[in-house]
Symmetry: C2
Subunit: 225 residues, 2 copies
DNA sequence: ACATATATGATAGTAAAACTACTATATTTG
DNA sequence: CAAATATAGTAGTTTTACTATCATATATGT
């Protein structure tokens, strides 16, 4: 991918922010600083006051971009999903075999993220760690129905749908394609987290990326039912 | 199970509470009230002040039982895991076939909970909804390593290990038994939540419990690898 | 060039949440 | 039955999450 994406912008639902953080220098510092700080101290300890200090601005200025720290977390998660969809579309180009496309999609969704130079102000390694630890909090709460009706989760649904389509190409009568895909995405996050913090809840295998291998096999075998 | 469990107490790691809530009338009201209130308003909106009002006691009295609302959530989640382990042990009694045991274990872990009369002050239907929406928050945060070293998650590990053993009975060389079990447990929670709030991320099939069916099949087919 | 819109910064304030310290009362026990 | 102990209740403090106000800097349009 290299620098091909250097003039592409990942679009995020504009109901998530008050002012688009991509539209200004300060906005980008907010996003960059948020990723650094949440990665470091966790979402619960993260406050706008600490962020303001970190990026040398005022609390009030941050409130001009985001309503709440919750919306800021939603923002970076939606950005991540949008970015994932892009990566998948890219990697699947010109690949004909549906099986191969599925294998690549699952690898992309589950593999460890390596740092690259696209979207400069966003550190994807840190973002990935945040998505693993924090992203489910954006929908596991009482505001989910409201936010769903505002379209907050469309980026996630699109991402899932894209992989579902590949599965249905392989087996048009498979009954649980959405379940399979969302199990893989969420499951991979969990397994990476367990590997680091609760290793007895997962399996760490020498010489292979067990998470990716496990879910690739799962995708290919389950859809045969 | 009926009333067989009426004089059994689910043990919860005593580092989670300051004073055992099972040891007094007030303690039981705290647990009962917590389950009702978190189910109703969600963990983020839940406060000790609201709980105190609900159960007609004072904030300070609740603080004598639990350090923080986080520990209270840990408590009810650990209770749930302990209870699940009990249910599984019970249901597997005298069943010889490992395949059948696995099918029953997965059903128990993934099925919809029906109200019963055991452990009277704990409403298991509400508790199940809370576990689905909130339980992952007990480990998806920066205190996980500390709390893990205090043994907070042993009940979860024991539960997983119990099912892992069945899998290894069926296929002693299967490489990913923990991954499979934790994927099933967490996955089932997610799918039930999606079915209610984000249905496009799952598959709802008429005339069957798609969640249980999906994960039962997954367990039986994956371990063949 | 100058008025005006827009962006940011600095400061202060409010309400609720999270937690602590202290006081009062009930119960147990020596 | 007095002293010790457990439990409950009241009144704080600190932090968080947010709002409001005003000052200043920068950009834009005519």
């Amino acid at each position: 991918m290299d620098n091909l994406l250097s003039n592409i912008k990942i679009k995020v639902n504009d109901k998530v922010f008050i002012k688009d953080p991509e539209s200004s220098e300060l906005g980008k510092r907010i996003v960059q600083g948020t990723i650094g700080l949440i990665d470091e101290i966790g979402f619960e300890q993260f406050t706008f006051k600490k962020l303001a200090k970190e990026i040398k601005t005022s609390e009030a200025s941050i409130y001009r971009y985001f309503d709440s720290k919750h919306h800021l977390l939603v923002y970076i998660t939606l950005w991540y999903w949008g970015w994932m969809e892009y990566r998948i579309v890219f990697k699947l180009m010109n690949i004909e075999s549906a099986e191969e496309r599925l294998t690549i999609a699952v690898k992309t969704l589950t593999e460890v993220i390596e740092e690259d130079k696209d979207f400069n102000h966003i550190n994807k390694v840190k973002l990935h760690r945040i998505v693993i630890r924090e992203s489910s909090k954006i929908y596991l709460n009482k505001s989910v129905d409201n936010e769903n009706s505002e379209g907050f989760f469309l980026a996630y649904k699109r991402l899932v749908e894209r992989v579902v389509k590949i599965i249905l190409e392989i087996n048009p009568t498979y009954k649980y394609p959405h379940m399979l895909v969302s199990t893989i995405i969420e499951g991979a996050h969990h397994q990476r987290y367990f590997a680091k913090h609760l290793p007895r809840l997962t399996d760490i295998v020498n010489g292979e990326d067990a998470v990716t291998t496990f879910y690739q096999k799962m995708a290919l075998t389950q859809l045969k039912d």
